[in-house]
Each structure stands twice: as structure tokens, then as C-alpha cells.
Symmetry: C2
Subunit: 315 residues, 2 copies
């Protein structure tokens, strides 16, 4: 068997992403041994029962000692505390990475606490499921998903290439871009859609009782897709909005400007403005279908028989 890419991988945090990395790295023979660290005794015990790693500890400093790859898999808001705890114990030459959904903030939080002799290569695998915790992980989670690396310009190129190889070998398609650009693109593709979904579901939750019940009943007419997005993990998403504040507020500004102009068109009965926009938006959808990012079939294979009133295409 070939030499593993890294001798010792340490995972700080062992939820869905951390445990999936462990499964994938082991399955593809990329690492010699895996150290698992988490703050929760219960979660650590569960990880051990599931045999996710080779060594288990509650102590972050102990966990990173001797590791040549450390991946921090905690909510974005906890990044600074982790960096403080592991910084002094890191092995010279180690690669330190993470999996956070926001990159500028993670860099701001972690970089000051990392020694100059380690390589910091922030990463964001765009993958997930509705489930969380060490039981939820599986080796195929990252297959055919994007993983975006945002190394600061001064980062050692060899370290970046080794991390690209790591993610590529566990199935991801890797892109490298600046942290600022990442945060802007994710604000519009992910953070604002989630904020809007949370918001409209919240608006509906505040409706008078008799209407609220019917919102649930007739949700198949469009609302339902928003509720799924708005059922995402509250802690993770709170941290994302607080930590990508600038890009989110910038994009939110554009969104509400545009919405105000639509509102005006409706109030004035300006059908042409509505029709023009509704036609333009089809081109974006076409672009997504063209590059194979979605499938065209109605309801994505949802079968009416299996789920009752299931159309997402009702009017």
C-alpha cells in the first residue's frame, strides 16, 4: 500500500462533517492515524463507540500534538477559542484547516493565534444533510461536491496543493479563491436564501391561528420548499449571519431594493416590469441546468403517491 498523504490527522469537533472526513480519509487510505477531539464527553464516547478514530481526547492541545493535518470542524463562532487552545501545541510544518461556511471571519479569528511555522489553509466543503452528530457521518458525503479553499496569499503553495489532493481524493471538486470572494458568492447563493426562507416561515408562523393552520395544509403550493431550508441548524446559521455580516448586509440591501421595486410595480399594476423580470430569471435557471447542477424533471422525483399533496409546482 502507498504511503499515506498525512501521518496523523486530528479532527477538532466530530459532528456530521468531522465524522464524514474521518470515514472518507480512512476509506481512501489517506491518513496513517486519526485523533478525535470534542468538548462533549458524551459525543466523544459516542465517536469511540462508532470507532471513528484511533485516539480520543477532550483536550485540544493533546489532540493536535504530532499531527501533520489538523481540521477544525466546529461552528464558525467557536473558531477563535479553538485556535487559542491548539496554537501553542501545533507541530511545526503542520497544515491547519477548517470547514466553516464563512471564511473571512474564520481567518480573523484563527490566524493571530497560530504560530508562524504552521500552514493555515481555510476550507469550506459545500455539503451536508439535515442530520448532525457523529452518527450522521458517511464517507461519500463529499463526493461530487465543491470544496472551496481560501488560503491567504502568503500561504506555502505546497501546503495548499497537499490539501487540494486530500479533498480531491475523498471525492470533492476543489476550487481556490480569496476569502472575500468566497464570502460574497456564498452570501448570495446560500446565506441570503436561508435568511429569506427563515424570514418567510417566521412571517407565516406569526399569522392569525386560522391562517397558520392552512399555511401548513396548503404548503405544497410553494411555501414547503422554504420550510425545509428554514429547518436548518439554528446555532450554525446564527454564527454564519453574525460572521458574514458585511457580505450578507450588502446582498440584503440589493435584495430589498429589488423587492421594493417589484412591490411598486404590483401596486401600480405595471405588468410589463413583472413579465420582464419573470422572463429574465429563466435564463439563470437554464444556466444551472446546462452545467448539470440540477435536473429538469418535475418535483425532483417526488412521487405524489408517497407523500400526499406533493406538488411543488402548484399555483
Amino acid at each position: 500500500m502507498a504511503e499515506p498523504l498525512f501521518t496523523r490527522l486530528t479532527l477538532i469537533g466530530i459532528g456530521l462533517i468531522g465524522s464524514s472526513i474521518a470515514h472518507a480519509a480512512r476509506k481512501s487510505g489517506l491518513v496513517g492515524e486519526i485523533v478525535v477531539q470534542t468538548r462533549s464527553e458524551k459525543t466523544l464516547k459516542r465517536a469511540e463507540e462508532l470507532r471513528i478514530g484511533d485516539f480520543y481526547t477532550l483536550d485540544p492541545a493533546e489532540a493536535v500534538a504530532g499531527a501533520d493535518l489538523v481540521i477544525v470542524c466546529v461552528p464558525v463562532g467557536a473558531s477563535e477559542d479553538v485556535a487559542k487552545a491548539i496554537g501553542p501545541a501545533l507541530k511545526p510544518g503542520a497544515i491547519v484547516s477548517d470547514v466553516g461556511s464563512v471564511k473571512m471571519s474564520v481567518i480573523r479569528q484563527m490566524e493571530p493565534h497560530l504560530p508562524a511555522n504552521v500552514h493555515f489553509v481555510p476550507a469550506h466543503p459545500i455539503a451536508g444533510t439535515e442530520h448532525s452528530g457523529p452518527d450522521a457521518g458517511f464517507a461519500e458525503l463529499f463526493r461530487n461536491r465543491w470544496c472551496i479553499l481560501t488560503p491567504p496569499e502568503s500561504t506555502n503553495q505546497n501546503a495548499v496543493e497537499r490539501l487540494v489532493e486530500f479533498w480531491t481524493k475523498i471525492g470533492a471538486d476543489v476550487e481556490v479563491m480569496s476569502a472575500k470572494h468566497h464570502d460574497l458568492v456564498l452570501a448570495i447563493t446560500s446565506h441570503i436564501p436561508h435568511l429569506i426562507a427563515y424570514n418567510i416561515v417566521g412571517t407565516a408562523a406569526d399569522m392569525e391561528d386560522n391562517v397558520r393552520q392552512e399555511v401548513i395544509k396548503f404548503s405544497a403550493s410553494g411555501f414547503r420548499d422554504f420550510t425545509r431550508i428554514a429547518a436548518s441548524d439554528p446555532t450554525m446559521w446564527r454564527d454564519i449571519f453574525l460572521n458574514n455580516k458585511d457580505a450578507v448586509l450588502e446582498m440584503l440591501g440589493r435584495f430589498t431594493e429589488d423587492l421594493t421595486s417589484l412591490q411598486r410595480a404590483i401596486r401600480r399594476g405595471d405588468g410589463d416590469t413583472l413579465f420582464d423580470l419573470f422572463t429574465r430569471t429563466r435564463a439563470i435557471r437554464r444556466g444551472i441546468l446546462d452545467i448539470g447542477q440540477d435536473i429538469e424533471s418535475p418535483d425532483f422525483g417526488r412521487t405524489p403517491a408517497a407523500e400526499g399533496h406533493g406538488s411543488t409546482n402548484g399555483k
Copy 2:
């Protein structure tokens, strides 16, 4: 074979909904004969090739003569013209219905032009696919979908019951409510979600070139679901917003109020407000799962292998 429920069904308009009603009514033996009318010579010819009905005409007055059930299946904005054209030719005692996504406006448009001796029972089957035209119709479209009837209070109860029976026998679950209530419930469950989806996709379309390309590329992180909704038929949706103006503007007002307060929470770093909302919205999702309006499995059976970067649950 049992006596059909209606001797002659006339369909004004023969797109996805009209042709699906024809297939379903015939398959279940509910009608003696079917008359098909549409404005477009080409569409009428196509309907005839597909053998959707028994008689075909471009003339609405000729079409409704002798019919005991007339269902108007045209964009909401065309309702008044149709009512004017068919009003004088309707058979006394006939039931006149429609399939529009907005009910107050359809009633305002049609009622003044219908004779006192017919029964007007507006209806809205909440069903559809991405496709349109007579080729798109199929008999099972309404199975396990809601159909909402909004008869004015003075409507003959027997006529309402006959239409309930018609929709029930072609597979729909029928609800009766006021037109005003319908328009309010659909504004929040369907019209506002569509407006928001159109709006955010429009905002993205107006981004600088380099960002726009990446919005498409990384759409799987949440944005993609919005683009599907925003690819809906422009004419139909323009008519919906223009014709449900009051309820849409009312709901849009609540939505933007709530969004402004979220924006303020993000700007001020108020994590508790965000966390509270994100927790509350899960209860609505739970309600939808509890009554079987959606399924819990991630990605609704989308398979990564089949579609590339397919997670809707990325961060």
C-alpha cells in the same frame, strides 16, 4: 355503466389544466361528451390530434351551448373577456367554474357577465408541473392534490355539491372557503414565495459578471431551489400578482417588516433574536411533516451520482 355526472363538459382553454381535466373526466366516466374551445387555431388542432375532446371550436359561444358544466381554464387576466363571450350562450341551470389561482378577481371579472340562471362555482386546483400546453396534460394530475372551491354565499348548494363530487371523483381533496380567505392563504403559501424567488434570482442576475457565473456554479448551496420556482410561467404569474394585489401587498408588508428586523439583528450582532427565530421556524416544518405534506429524507431522493453537485443542504 352509471349515468355520467354531467352530459356535456365544455373546456374554455386547453393547456395543462384543461387537458388534464379532460383526460381525468373521461377516464372516470364522469361526463357524456367533451367540447374543447381555445383561441389559438394551432392549439385547437393539436387538441384534436390528441383526441382530447369530442367537439372542437374556436367560438366560445358555440362551445358552451348545451353544456351543463363549463370550466374556464385560461390565465386569470383573460377571465372577463371569456365571461363576456360565453355569458349570453350559457344553458340555463349550467354550472360555470374556473381553475384560476386567484379567486376574488375572477369573481369580480366574471360574475357581472353571467346570467342569473346559471350557477357560478369558482375553483382552484392546486396542481401543476413545469410543462404547459395540451400535450402536457394527464389524468392523474389532480390525484391527492387540493382543489379549493370558493362559491359566493348565494350559490345554489346543489351545484356546489355536484362540483365537489366532480373534483373528488377525479382524485382531488376538496375544500370550500371564501374567495377572500383563499386569496390570503395562497398569498402567503404560494404568491409571496414565488415573488421572493423571482426577486432573488433577479438580484443574482444583476450581479457583476464574475460573481454571476459563480452563483450558477455554486447554486447547490441553497439558491438552486429558488431558481426552479423562478422558472415558472411568466404570463400566469404576472396575472396572479396583478389580480391578487391587495393580499400580496399585505403579506409583502409583513414579510419586509420582519426582514428589516432580521437585518437590524444582524447589523447589531444580536444572535439571540436570530437563534430564536431559527428555532421557531422548525415547528412549522414539523407541522408539515406531521400531516404528510412532505417527506423527511434529505434532498427528496435527489441522488448525487445522477446530478453532480447536488446537495440542497450545503452551507
